[in-house]
Symmetry: C2
DNA sequence: GTGAAAGCGCTAACAG
DNA sequence: CTGTTAGCGCTTTCAC
């Protein structure tokens, strides 16, 4: 009720004593308008709080000023932080963000891509999504990938350097004397799981250890699953001296399982998590974990998609984010 | 590239040998069209995968088929689940969801409301948002409230029954012999915090205990804050026999702090969390907590906003969600 | 049951 | 630098 319902460009034009097209120029190409005229028009725009009707504008420009973010789920904290960064940066440039969750379901993702095309969304950010469903998108829509390499297709790419992360981590563990390393991955079939496994193996080899497949156990991404997977890991005689969890949430379960066997962390077995999720600092004992700047990544990703929308032809870039070890109390 | 770029209603009309208005009717009012014609038109629509241009349609109908969800943050898990429910239900009816986070910042929320009006969004779902910034919205936009009572303003309302939850919980604790109950609230200034405090006090009184203000300590919503707040609670001589945490995340810190003092959970002090966040089942020991069906709530909320969009005058409804105790191992 | 025509509000040539 | 004009693609009276 605060605002009069529909003030149009025509009315602003009349009041300012100019043609609608001049008002349009004031908004879209201010430099083309004489300063005096511009100021006058602007004052009416402000007084009446005029905003161009996005439908009419979109019909003409074929731009929606909407960017979509496609994530595999809403609950992974890291995505929430990325989303926050994206949202903030996008708003600055007058874009609106819509989020879609694919639930790691290929069919759903296909539907989402269709929807995105139908809505005439200007750009899409794919965060760790399925394979190339994105060709379901209308041709020419701006794209940015998070955690999936699109550089061959000329798509800007933001990658989390998992290989570097595991390199750092294994090196650190080896330096502490650990040789028998277990890994509770998370969902082995998921993209994130697959990448972690390969990075893990690579680092294990690099530091002269032997990859024991039995020490790599899968679990869906919940603590409970982490617990169960860890129990399996603990069944044999040959106990690992440290267990890496694919996420801190998983780590909760790992520690729980270890304790349930009457073993202590880190006295008997050390534990490392991933992502520095809230709570990990206050666990008992506080969990050593790996982290990166997801919020900052979100900002940069938003920056990239805006750039790409305005310059579809520009050469694509790849940016890598490194992870750092947050040392706390679960590694001995 | 999969799809030809722009197939319009005109082209479909030509191919089907009818007027554009007939195609429009097939889509929007199929019952007005002769069955034969309808089928023929429909077959072309499907073959060419025609979808009405949302700009043109919106310009005409003043509807965007977009619903906004305004949340105080992206990271609270309960919101993520609500969002998932909303998204799923909305997609079924061909609506798109946009999410905005206000960061509990009133200015930002005001800006968001403006933006929502500008975008001609059809409906807004406010999840535990600030005071009545919603009058910043354009008049007549459909509204639904989560966790804030709008019934006096004729707004559909979905409430989490915190009073009922605390009633249940305190009753349960009293039955187990607890008389000295501490409460690590979370942010005392936040809406959620305020409501929890008042529900807590009410229940305490009802069961004949005395409210000791010193036993109600604030904290921002992180585990670390929960830890610090708990340390304060544990400073006096008069230790509580049970501590309620405003969220499971907080609960992690509570348990950590208790342990850090050389005390055991639940041996020395019992702990109860809120929201049954993932991981709480696998904590050590598994955390007793309160839960409700946030995902289901999301679905119903979406249902309500769609109903409201299509029938702005209907009488408003209020639905209350109850919380249940998930008994695990932290209460003795 | 269907067609014709107008117009939603805006932007972008094209003149001047 | 500014006005004129056309038209984006759709829905909706109003006739027939």
């Amino acid at each position: 009720m605060t605002k009069k319902d529909t003030i149009t460009i025509l009315e602003i034009a009349k009041m300012s004593g100019v043609n609608p097209s001049t008002v349009s120029r004031v908004i879209n190409h201010p430099e083309m308008v004489n300063e005096k005229t511009r100021e006058r028009v602007l004052s009416f725009i402000n007084d009446y709080n005029y905003r161009p009707n996005p439908f009419a504008r979109g019909l003409q420009t074929k731009r929606s000023k909407i960017v979509a973010l496609v994530v595999p789920n809403f609950t992974t904290l890291s995505f929430a932080n990325i989303a926050r960064g994206i949202q903030e940066r996008l708003m600055q440039s007058d874009y609106t963000m819509v989020i879609f969750s694919s639930h790691e379901d290929e069919e759903l993702e296909k539907k989402i891509c269709k929807k995105i095309s139908e809505l005439h969304i200007d750009g899409v950010i794919f965060a760790s999504s399925m394979m190339p469903n994105y060709n379901e998108l209308s041709y020419g829509i701006a794209k940015v990938f998070i955690d999936r390499d699109g550089s061959r297709d000329g798509i800007d790419t933001f990658i989390l350097d998992l290989e570097g992360a595991f390199d750092k981590l294994i090196k650190y563990l080896v330096a502490k004397g650990h040789k028998n390393i277990g890994f509770v991955v998370g969902d082995k079939e998921s993209y994130a799981g697959l990448k972690k496994i390969s990075a893990f193996q690579k680092a294990i080899n690099k530091y002269g250890l032997i990859v024991d497949e039995k020490k790599i156990v899968g679990a869906l991404w919940s603590s409970k699953e982490g617990w169960n997977a860890t129990i399996k890991l603990l069944e044999g005689k040959d106990l690992p001296s440290v267990i890496i969890a694919g996420s801190d949430t998983l780590g909760i379960g790992v520690i729980g399982a270890i304790n349930s066997k009457g073993l202590l962390v880190p006295g008997d077995i050390s534990v490392v998590g991933f992502n520095n999720e809230p709570g990990s600092e206050s666990m008992n004992p506080p969990l050593t974990t790996m982290e990166y700047d997801d919020y900052g990544m979100g900002k940069e990703v938003a920056e990239a998609i805006i750039r790409r929308i305005n310059n579809p032809e520009g050469i694509s870039e790849t940016k890598t984010y490194t992870m750092d070890i947050i040392e706390r109390k679960t590694v001995r």
